[in-house]
Symmetry: D2
């Protein structure tokens, strides 16, 4: 990838929903590699000067997305393939923090109690060649991924905090450089969005906020014509994966496992119960997020067992 790669910036306002109602910002060809510029989950507004998250961010205007990008030729019933080539930070630091009533170890708006919120805290962590400096003693390797990517639903507009069948805010570390991410196409042109780059993240995005960065992400678009899927799939060198989203985690897990079994049955010659048996012994599951409006679990099948 050279200097020729087209740079895609959001010219107008960012998108706060995954929706077919936004005006496309550009069109790409199948096979084209482009570099998409994204702002961080707080639209780059959380700075050391800001006292409270709520001073600069208001629901539902959160997690701004770059897009929609029209993929020429994509039609309902196809599958969009997004190969992630690289993710580079466009700022010298990552932001993370504790937002009141948001996160994995606090009561939240969709599951409230009468308890007080945890203390609001913000960290601004330098990024250098060694990684992200958590504190004087600890540096976290730079292992970036896009927290949010996906396509427009058919008639719905869903806030960009939610992951679902069309992708969205899955917050799973597998949407990372080197991997292909597949999305079902619901509208002409697919209408691809991405944002919410993370310099790194633990399983579950436990505090609700990862190491948030603005970034430029280089991707190559592909298309599987007439190939229909129900949930986002991810292909790495070693694994076939499905990202299922729902509540509670049990439901997210079952969605991911069942779609993975359907995949193995449809494309790889497995009887469904045989695939179930084998997943019971060699399947892996990675917790994506346990903080968003829907939680995400990633079911993984090691490709070495394909036959």
């Amino acid at each position: 990838m050279g200097t020729e790669i087209r740079q895609i910036h959001q010219e107008g306002p960012y998108c706060y929903t995954y929706s077919p109602f936004h005006t496309p910002i550009t069109t790409v060809e199948v096979g084209e590699t482009v570099c998409i510029h994204t702002v961080d989950a707080f639209e780059n507004k959380m700075t050391p000067e800001v006292e409270h998250f709520s001073d600069v961010c208001t629901y539902p205007f959160l997690n701004p997305q770059t897009g929609p990008i029209v993929v020429k030729g994509a039609e309902p019933g196809d599958t969009l393939v997004v190969k992630i080539e690289s993710i580079e930070p466009t700022r010298d630091h990552a932001v993370t923090g504790l937002v009141p009533y948001f996160g994995g170890l606090t009561s939240t708006k969709p599951d409230p109690t009468l308890q007080d919120a945890l203390e609001e805290q913000w960290l601004f962590l330098p990024i250098d060649d060694d990684g992200v400096r958590f504190d004087d003693q600890r540096t976290i390797p730079y292992e970036p991924f896009m927290g949010t990517m996906g396509v427009a639903p058919k008639i719905e507009a869903v806030n960009a905090l939610t992951p679902d069948y069309y992708g969205g805010n899955m917050d799973c570390v597998e949407t990372r450089p080197g991997n292909e991410v597949w999305f079902p196409v619901f509208v002409e042109g697919a209408h691809f969005f991405t944002g919410d780059a993370h310099a790194s993240q633990g399983d579950g995005e436990l505090t609700g906020v990862a190491l948030e960065i603005p970034a430029k992400v280089t991707v190559t678009f592909g298309l599987k014509k007439g190939y229909e899927i129900q949930w986002p799939r991810i292909v790495s060198e070693d694994f076939l994966m499905v990202a299922g989203s729902g509540r509670p985690l049990d439901a997210a897990a079952r969605i991911a496992w069942v779609e993975l079994i359907n995949w193995l049955a449809a494309d790889h010659g497995f009887d469904p119960l045989q695939a179930y048996h084998l997943l019971g012994q060699v399947g892996q599951m990675r917790l994506g997020n346990m903080v968003d409006p829907k939680y995400t679990m990633v079911a993984k099948f090691p490709r070495k067992y394909l036959s």
Copy 2:
């Protein structure tokens, strides 16, 4: 209510989302009483001739809504008050059935297993003055309510099968004649929708399908200016109620209880923990639905304990 009442019909296509993107079908004044005509959850397409649900209905084109109706003067931060005056069926029978992989006692798309679906079955049940004839031996009283009612979210468009903070498909029997239903307003004019009338329903809408009817529902619109609520509230002669929606039922319940406590604290002089104590001893909870994309629980405070 005489013949003067304005009749509101959906002229163009019905709405399949709760959304600010639909063109309003009419405008009403605060204080106005109107009669809204709705089709059933299957757009009146399930007839004895139809073999399979999937022959006539396709997701997401389900649960068609009449609307949006603009309420003059309603602004974000207000609360819309909808007094339900009456609900009359506009057909001589109700439809109910078992849709594959939908319902409370089957695995479902948002929580799948590898098991076969239950048998698809449809019932067409006559309605007469005694009620709905379930079979030769059993007649179910006509106790109608609107399965779905609510307002447009601010920037989202949510499928009409889902209940949430803006109302929608709550499928709770308390949205019935005699009761007031309150909704938070997110957009100018509120953009009210309703549909999915039920001649009767058990707690939980267990099979996923109630006694579905097309109907005309007479409502009177009110407005509480500058009065902000977080979740739909319902006022009956005997109860203050909140309909909370989420997954699992636990979360829906907690949402409803907390909003009810906030209400008692803000308007009725309770200390929050005092209200919590009292609800522990006299609160009631009614299961709305345990079948929709979000489940609904209704928390109820007996008004006789207001003081």
Copy 3:
């Protein structure tokens, strides 16, 4: 019932588990009516002088039960029938309170967060002929029931805070005077326990603590030989009911509905899917508890629809 009724007191220590390992305190005949004396959930130790719950109560020594009572002739595979005749308080006041990290609107040990606990608070509420005096303005009717009743599991000993297939701490208002409660029998003599009388309670026992009283409960024992059930059943004048317990509430609900359908199919001539249809339209569900180690939901079938 006259003065002749046998009075059963716990002579030795109370039981803190539902278990086959306790020494029986007495034996009753089928058909016999007895009066069982119970202490409150805190073994009558919470008095106005006590500052903290933890000063007098320590897990797992909570919710003391009177029993086990051997029912002569009861054998595994039978069903024990307990008709509740009356429940009388043996103290002039009820106790209720907020226990740190216990209750429906706080994080808890089985579902913790990092948040601070709610304030510990205790109320001592006089009982008189009008009911329980919540405060100067509010009197709650005396509508007593046993929070906990059941039989010994086969080989397990389960803490008395948990409800399950053998009964236990269901905390549902339907175990009240006038109703029959049925339990599966797992060991010779059934080994019946009861305790945790409540002067009244809201749905869900929201604060985790009802209006707790020591009491004398008069019951009559019956036995259905060779009649096997999976979960506690309750028969009132108007309803057939099943109390299902599990987590989350969804699971408790499904357990209750399925056992109810099995009952209707086995004893009342229903085809299972016909019963499912009918419950969808006329079934009721009452929230028992949403605070104990397992939650309880009560599925109700109106007996008038039996045919």
Copy 4:
């Protein structure tokens, strides 16, 4: 470890509960290394000749445990440390299968539907030096662990299928050779049990049955006097881990994360919110089981971040 190591066999019947009521089979010293012999989860009764699981196994007589083993000097308030040295199969094949209404992708007794069960299927898979032969094309590496290990609760007797605060049927791959497993001690002598060896297993034990083997497991017992923990902890070369168990998976996850934060705060100088922040970025979570009466999630902290 030479031929000197004491061999511990279950002389009488195996134990089907984690309980203080069983007669100890032997006593070990702190620091002693012993070799414990276990049968498989089906008490070695599932053979190719058996048609149905229910012909040879009946609840609650499942998952037989070897024990209890008294650890000399262990007292309530201590922590028992079990270092797993090795696990060797004592049969030339592993058994796995699909038990009706048990597993991760079927409805189950604790969360039932009206659907038919999946087909019952059994596989008998040879074990050799390369691993377990799943079929002609696939060999699964031998990566053994004990599905079940733990200590007696204080007064409860819990079926051996359930994992909880005392350990039990966690079915997580981290209870494997090379790792230390820590358990809270509730009774004099701790009363240690183990069983349910697995030749290998995928995350979640998805089918409900792993590669089940009888085994001899060599362990060394240690004791941390006066060191109190709430949930089982696991120490490997690279991780500090906690196994939390509950339903749904969300609760199991939160239990594990909170105990891990408490550990980091108590022993490693972290402020709790600092540990929360760091886990959000570097924490890992491994799905133990999503099939047992309680589910298990393992929270992991990379030891390289200890400082």
